[in-house]
Symmetry: C2
């Protein structure tokens, strides 16, 4: 159930940093011998080779992997890998970067679940700093889940929030009183999101609540609900 990262350029490197911070198991496929030997010295799991070759994906354990991140600079290479990987493991979650707009649809067709266009995100981000600076600053600085000690947004699954298995309305749960955190979202069992759900909404089995709070409130939340 590990993550395979193809390419240790600027994109892949940043992704790997984050995976490490969250203690995820991963292996990186990278062509540069220099980079690979340096990272192996630091105890990281690197394989030297070109991820476009099926052999490399097999060596990285594609059959039992949970996620593949394609972060090569060439859209054509990423497309090739996405297509190969999808054939080797139909349950794999595949995330690919793309440079060109026009590659988005192709990568989706080839089997990618998510396609990230860094230049597009970057351009959006620059414009957001002009049009809604305060909101962008606020949302950007929200720290999301994980193991850090400055978390602002966290999710709790149904079975933690209603530990006896009984479905209850949000207001009956009294989460704000118990922890200080506020419910800002609900993910239904079908996977649909409701922003700012009504207090009367009944929390269903297999759903999730999304909450916001200051770090000390999130800490309380985690203790209270054993997240």
């Amino acid at each position: 159930n590990h993550v395979i990262v193809c390419g240790y350029g600027r994109n892949g490197k940043q992704a790997v940093h984050k995976l490490e911070a969250y203690d995820k198991d991963f292996v990186v496929i990278e062509m540069s011998e220099d980079i690979v030997s340096r990272q192996l010295e630091e105890g990281m799991l690197f394989i030297e080779g070109n991820a476009v070759e099926d052999e490399m994906l097999l060596q990285a354990g594609i059959a039992r992997a949970g996620t593949l991140i394609c972060a090569l600079p060439s859209d054509a290479d990423n497309l090739f890998i996405v297509l190969s990987a999808r054939q080797m493991n139909s349950n794999l979650k595949i995330i690919s970067r793309a440079t060109e707009d026009t590659s988005f649809q192709k990568l989706k067709l080839a089997g990618a679940d998510n396609v990230i266009l860094p230049d597009k995100i970057g351009g959006d981000h620059m414009a957001n700093l002009v049009v809604t600076p305060d909101l962008v600053e606020f949302l950007d600085n929200l720290a999301v889940s994980g193991s850090g000690d400055s978390i602002n947004v966290e999710q709790i699954p149904f079975e933690k929030v209603c530990s006896n298995g009984e479905e209850k309305a949000i207001k009956e749960l009294d989460i704000r009183k118990k922890t200080g955190c506020s419910v800002i979202g609900y993910k239904s069992p079908e996977g649909n999101y409701i922003v700012n759900p009504e207090p009367s909404l009944v929390v269903k089995k297999d759903s999730k609540l999304i909450l916001i709070g200051r770090p000390e409130q999130i800490e309380k939340l985690k203790n209270q609900y054993d997240v």
Copy 2:
């Protein structure tokens, strides 16, 4: 008080799309004659030339501009422009892209207010899809302010929320009852953000509230407070 965008590559283009959508006045400086003549035909304000030349910035009205977006592919070019622009207009908000990590600090030193590293944001994003997929999906799909009809996050300044100028506690404002929206943030008069502020927090002059809601709730909010 217009926006100057240097470079109409993938980054600049996306920024321009967003500025247009929010009806911001802008002018683009772009070197490619082809691109410029095509955009001029579409009625967009483009100037042909190299933004590294001071003359081009003057022509784009740098002295009376509100914001400069440097979206050239070369970090050295962006650095050059940031430095020139900062000398020409000390009040200008300067936003620059950067490719290399090491350029971040240099661009800041040269006078950039914000530096955006698209590859870093992209890499982060890919990893977030692995480590906190639900939260990322939820936050990514929040539509922020502006003129659209599917907005989820909006800000209200003090003078709108306390229209008689009297400072009041959040709970006294009864915003949730009146509009359905929930307060998720507070920006103090000094510019500091408080996430998930207490209901007892007194909303001060020159502060802002940040609220979350479903589109119909945000619509109510805008009508109620004349935003």
